[in-house]
Symmetry: C2
Subunit: 271 residues, 2 copies
């Protein structure tokens, strides 16, 4: 999906919500466990219920890989289902890949050619040749910049001799490799005020923002400092939406939560 | 596998060779393509031929994931085969994982509980909670420190205000999280002289060293600056061994190459 198509989806739906499919078999409602493929059955119901309120889905590979071949099948079925039934949604594989050039090329082949997803989260530590193989026409790298977890303090905020912090260097340097058409950055919602600094180095790039909801970030604050004229944000929520209820009404509960966020987003888009 | 068991294997075999199973279907000998599972057939033959000369195997996940479910099956069969036929070998999943705590825990469950491997390569960018879930009794994190690719120059050598380079900070800081019994570092062989600096911050840790062979690193130089009294090195070679021949003699050719390296290692261990 191109940047223009994504912006159009956001305007049309008045939403910049990304629903994270961190589907944990331990949290899937009891009555689905009798299904042949409970992970896929859960995802399918969640997707159908939340599709009107979001513009993107983000399956987290860890949750599928944990089940070996069965998990990978559930992942593949989820992607196929999205392509077939909801082709207007942007698909992000949250896989945090990144390796030497020839290996990154292999991963790119997997996610873009084999699965046809739109974007992949990538770790920047190994530099240019580990990142560029993932970029293409309508194929996006979402590079880790400033993450939402406690460990983000360990290295990402390290200042170099000129006072540039590592996450700022990652954002600045990577702009030599990609453009606003094929690169986004992960910036955790738990650091609202930091969006001001981020927008100094990346005024136009889309940002993928985890950490709203279960992790405690504030949507208002993210928008105050991070929103651009094109919106420029995809805000992810996983647990707060997909596990809103663990009963038979889990999909309706997820829809209600997604709709609540969408209504808030609509207000923020029009402020 | 514990550190003591690994050291014992190295002494017994007079080898610290790790064979990288970067099994590319485009490079698998023609006659194997008729097999039901050419990736596994290739790995099985390579493993049986090289097992006497190496102490570790390192399948690179990218090459298996690229084939979807079929690739994952080949990976699983390879791991099972190693457990069954060559249980004395150390198994490294080269996956470069690393995510927020709850997601890293999922990956850890996959690689250690589901597959029973010994070690996983992990990217350090997201810090402590992304790394510690992979450590356990005889379960190793192999943390990226100074990699062998060109992109390693982009961020890993950045000096902070006190002159500490990022890779040095990664090594120093991560020693607050793990020990020499559950943590190693990736250090590319392409930077022989840098091993001196690495040994200042990690005098006793094992180092996983890619980049000998196809990427141009020198084994002598790595050993001159990097070897410890316990050896302290696992030197990986992938392409130079597993693709030594693309004919029907591929396994014998791989054995010959592995044996050559092992003989060189034996000399270096006894110098």
């Amino acid at each position: 999906m191109t940047r223009q198509e994504l912006i159009q989806q956001i305007r049309q739906k008045q939403s910049f919500l990304c629903v994270g499919l961190d589907t944990d078999i331990k949290k899937v409602p009891q009555h689905l466990l009798a299904e042949e493929d409970p992970l896929f059955a859960f995802n399918k119901a969640i997707i159908d219920a939340t599709a009107p309120y979001c513009v993107a889905y983000k399956p987290n590979l860890a949750f599928y890989e944990a089940h070996g071949v069965k998990g990978l099948v559930a992942f593949e079925k989820t992607i196929e289902y999205l392509h077939r039934e909801h082709p207007e949604h942007f698909i992000i594989a949250d896989a945090k890949r990144g390796d030497i050039g020839n290996t990154s090329k292999m991963y790119a082949r997997t996610f873009f050619d084999l699965y046809g997803i739109d974007a992949l989260t990538v770790a920047p530590y190994m530099g240019e040749d580990s990142v560029t193989p993932f970029m293409g026409e309508g194929q996006w790298v979402i590079l880790l910049a400033l993450t939402s977890n406690k460990g983000s303090l360990d290295f990402q905020l390290t200042e170099d001799k000129d006072g540039e912090r590592l996450f700022e260097k990652v954002i600045r340097k990577s702009q030599e490799w990609g453009t606003t058409e094929n690169m986004m950055y992960v910036v955790g919602a738990t650091r609202g005020e930091m969006f001001k600094d981020i927008r100094k180095v990346a005024p136009d790039h889309f940002l993928l923002v985890p950490g709203v909801g279960a992790q405690g970030g504030s949507l208002e604050e993210v928008c105050r400092y991070g929103m651009t004229k094109d919106c420029g944000l995809l805000v992810n929520s996983s647990r707060a939406i997909i596990y809103a209820s663990d009963g038979e009404d889990f999909a309706q509960a997820a829809a209600r939560e997604a709709q609540k966020v969408q209504e808030q987003m609509k207000r923020l888009l029009n402020d």
